[in-house]
């Protein structure tokens, strides 16, 4: 299966063309750290990887896209492009969670608890924790604080804990204050685009990718604006 993977959820704009078969082989890839402006760069980068691999849009069989958490606008741009391509080419688009991709990329031994934690600003983090041996979700993806996450992790059965993500060091600090020593597998804010392609190849199709915001829109209903009525 020829899969196009897109990641615009964070500072990076990353695109890869990968083929499944005997493992996953990446045919062409681009990664630019741009901060913002994903909308302008994404389509040209897709054109570049197709040209480099000598392929066309018609050759694509699946689109994989990161769904966040991350930049709301960036995530939406990737999801919109993926859904637009899927509609135009009549192929599936699938979503890959940023935290899931970080957990996958950490490649941790089965008995550990692996925690992906990203800086979410405002003193908060986005976090998710799973135990790879049984796939059990220990801590579902949510916006939280390092303290709340550490409390949940410290209350487990004492399994080895591995952290990954841009907030890994700050979570490790809070955990150590609770007597839990955690290993840090990486501090990147996003997984390599090849991991997005690999997870996308395995994902079930049939449901359009949708952004995983984890935070509500920053808006409050307006009340008390109106002049008094009889």
């Amino acid at each position: 299966m020829l899969i196009l993977a897109l990641d615009t959820a964070g500072e990076n704009c990353a695109v890869a063309l990968a083929k499944t078969g005997d493992g996953l082989s990446v045919l062409a890839r681009r990664n630019e750290v741009i901060g913002r402006g994903h909308a302008e760069r994404l389509m040209p980068m897709i054109g570049e990887v197709l040209a480099e691999a000598g392929l066309t849009y018609a050759d694509l069989e699946r689109i994989a896209v990161t769904t966040g958490p991350g930049s709301f606008t960036g995530t939406r741009i990737g999801v919109a492009a993926a859904r637009g391509l899927a509609l135009a080419l009549a192929i599936p688009a699938v979503g890959v969670g940023v935290l899931d991709a970080l957990i996958e990329a950490a490649g941790v031994e089965a008995n550990d608890v692996i925690v992906a934690a990203l800086d979410a600003r405002r003193g908060e983090i986005y976090a998710k924790a799973i135990r790879p041996n049984d796939g059990k979700i220990i801590y579902d993806a949510q916006v939280t604080t390092a303290a709340d996450l550490a409390q949940a992790i410290a209350g487990l059965g004492g399994e080895p804990v591995t952290l990954t993500g841009s907030a890994a060091a700050s979570v490790a600090q809070v955990l150590s204050e609770r007597g839990v020593m955690a290993a840090i597998a990486g501090e990147a804010a996003s997984a390599d685009i090849s991991t997005i392609a690999a997870l996308g190849a395995l994902a079930e199709s049939g449901k359009s990718p949708a952004p995983l915001y984890l935070r509500p829109p920053d808006a409050k209903p307006q009340t008390g604006m109106a002049v008094a009525r009889k």
């Binding site: 054109g47 637009g84 109106a226």
Partner: protein
């Protein structure tokens, strides 16, 4: 020029519109004789999502667009019984509007265009409104356009596709914004335009003395913030308000707006007469406020008194839609404007780029 246009082959364009709180897609075909046909016109309104907030919340709008847009495009194709191979181009609103929505429309359009090898036409949303009458009524250039919506209030001389001369604009609030703020102040349901219009039906427009800002002054600019403030002061002085008070205030507000439009129209026509293109024979009203039936009637009378024929597209083509974007795309293709595979969304994008920014029009430049 007309003969070369009339012999051109039929063109079919997919239009995409996501600049505010409507997710819209449409298929429009221009026949060899130059006439346009709307083959589908899907508009998914986000009214209910924004109602509790008394206005459009950009983040909520963007979240709704990304969930809905591909389905709306698929529906537009289905209803038109069209496939990708039937299309000559994709036209997409690239501005002005809420940047979050514009980015989603342009990126989706760019993705589809790249995947299907289609030409991509970035469209100014205001041009869509400006050209609607050439689709619905086959109107010839030049004509005078009154564009009144939640974001814009301006008179434009439409001289041709891509040729717009701004004669006047608002120096503060847009007219639709004044309707929305009045409705909010009076506790009427969102969106404010239809609520104020409905409430005004049982009102006495003469009861409250409200100002007619800028009337009698030179030029055809608008100002509505003082009128809005006057409504608030009258409302507060008469609080608590009865149903009749509300109706009288709404009727008074609407009549004041009607008087302002009438006065400004007179000045706009005078500006056209003194211009190099002579005198247009038609006044076209467009934008969401042009769906207000009271104001349509006032404009029709005022236009007739000035010797102009009044044209207002059907209300569903006055409010935001993608048929007008598709038609603007068709019109630009016919006139030889180039396609572009790099379309940058622009929150601000005046239709008349040569027009001077207006005082009070915001630190980022004129609204339009």
């Amino acid at each position: 020029m007309v003969s070369s246009r009339s012999s051109s082959k039929p063109l079919t364009v997919l239009g995409i519109e996501t600049s505010c709180d409507e997710t819209a897609a449409a298929i429009v075909t221009r026949a060899s004789d130059g006439s346009g046909m709307i083959r589908s016109n899907i508009v998914l309104s986000q009214l209910t999502e924004h109602a509790a907030f008394g206005g459009v919340v950009p983040e909520i709008a963007a979240r709704a667009h990304v969930e809905a847009l591909d389905g709306v495009i698929a529906a537009a194709l289905r209803e038109a019984k069209a496939g990708w191979n039937d299309l000559d181009a994709i036209a997409v609103t690239a501005g002005p509007g809420l940047i979050g929505g514009l980015l989603l429309g342009t990126v989706t359009a760019a993705a589809i265009a790249a995947a299907r090898g289609l030409a991509l036409m970035p469209i100014n949303h205001l041009e869509g409104h400006a050209l609607t009458a050439t689709l619905t009524d086959g109107l010839a250039f030049p004509y005078l356009l009154l564009l009144v919506s939640g974001g814009h209030s301006q008179f434009l001389l439409v001289e041709g596709v891509g040729r717009y001369k701004r004669l006047g604009t608002t120096i503060d609030d847009a007219l639709g914004e004044a309707f929305d703020k009045t409705a909010k102040l009076l506790g009427l349901a969102y969106p404010g335009g239809p609520s104020v219009e409905l409430c005004a039906r049982n009102g006495d427009p003469e009861r409250f003395d409200l100002p007619r800002p800028l009337t009698g002054t030179a030029g055809c600019d608008f100002s509505f913030s003082g009128l809005k403030t006057a409504v608030r002061q009258v409302a507060e002085a008469n609080a608590p308000l009865s149903d009749q008070d509300l109706a009288d205030l709404c009727a008074g507000f609407q009549m004041a707006v009607g008087d302002v439009l009438e006065d400004r129209l007179r000045h706009a026509v005078a500006a056209c007469r003194s211009g190099p293109n002579g005198r247009p024979g038609h006044l076209v009203a467009a934008g969401g406020v042009a769906a207000n039936l009271y104001l349509r009637e006032r404009l029709e009378q005022a236009a007739a008194a000035l010797g102009l024929t009044f044209i207002a597209p059907a209300p569903d083509l006055c409010t935001d839609n993608a048929a007008m974007i598709a038609w603007a795309g068709v019109s630009r293709l016919v006139e030889g404007f180039p396609a572009s595979d790099n379309i940058a969304a622009r929150a601000r994008w005046p239709l008349d780029e040569a027009a001077e920014p207006v005082i009070g029009a915001g630190r980022k430049g004129a609204r339009a």
